[in-house]
């Protein structure tokens, strides 16, 4: 049982890494710093809803470190970690209440992620001027979080039976 779970976690980590890589290939930018799709968040949602908080955070941290060393730099690792911290905290709290749909949890997570990133960037630069982009990033977090949330809801309902029973 334990080794099975371990191998599935490894599989999810690989999938998340590939999704992160695909995301670097998509020029989803349009002149706004920090705008992105958040494909890897689908894997995070999957882990959160199938295996629970601890495994989700563990896999996510490993993913961020690997992606950071492969495609980014020290700054991008810090930004990703802060964004992930914000979004995971919000999503875990919302999931614990058990009142909200997975897609709604994902939307809140996406918005929290973008807020966290813009806050850490503002602290890093020591200027509030980056907050100009906060509304746009909140909107993009809403839309992208919604799309990813709908995708991961489909994945969770289909994979949960497979992974917990088989």
């Amino acid at each position: 049982m334990k080794s099975k779970k371990l191998s599935f976690l490894g599989l999810f980590l690989t999938a998340a890494l590939i999704l992160s890589y695909i995301e670097t290939l998509i020029p989803f930018f349009y002149g706004i710093p920090g705008l992105k799709l958040g494909l890897a968040n689908a894997m995070v949602m999957l882990l959160l809803y199938i295996y629970g908080v601890k495994d989700c955070i563990l896999v996510n941290i490993i993913r961020i470190l690997i992606v950071g060393f492969f495609f980014g730099n020290a700054f991008s690792i810090i930004y990703s970690l802060v964004g992930a911290l914000f979004s995971v905290i919000i999503m875990v709290i919302l999931k614990k209440t058990d009142k909200f749909d997975l897609a709604v949890v994902s939307i809140c997570g996406g918005m929290a992620h973008n807020t966290g990133q813009i806050l850490i960037a503002s602290v890093f630069f020591g200027t509030p001027y980056l907050l100009y982009y906060l509304p746009v990033l909140l909107l993009s977090g809403f839309i992208c979080g919604g799309v990813i949330g709908i995708i991961s809801k489909g994945l969770v309902t289909r994979l949960k039976v497979l992974l917990t029973n088989g």
Binding site: F29, I107, F125, T127, L131, Y132, P135, L139
Partner: protein
Amino acid sequence: MNARAFITLVQELTVIKVKFKQTIKNNRANITILIILIFLIVAFFLARNFFWSDTPDTVVIQHNDSIKEYPLSEDNDIAIMDILNNYHNLVIIKDGKVWMEKADCPDKLCMKQGKISKEGQSIVCLPHKIIVSLRKKGHSPEMDAVAK
């Protein structure tokens, strides 16, 4: 349209209405939070336009701890060097627009951010810790206080 078709139509509409009400009842928490979030986004957009809506006249270039100001009305090419005089970025001011023409960082995200011309907009370069922003002189002094 005959009477029977009309009655079926009304019945179908009632069924849809009941189902719709049921869905709303079952998803009250979800719908509430979504509406709150949408209001939040709109509020932030309004707040932004409230704070930053003038025509800018100053280009502020913040590189590490040095802050320099340039007038937006004069065309200018500004090279940004580090303390060892290594050349890093080239900022161009022309016709009331500002953009990053060259950068020696690997991702070139600052160049992809395009041309900016509105108050509050910025071009950000994370690896070199450069931020180029458009402001109006004397506007919101408390912002400048925070920046120092």
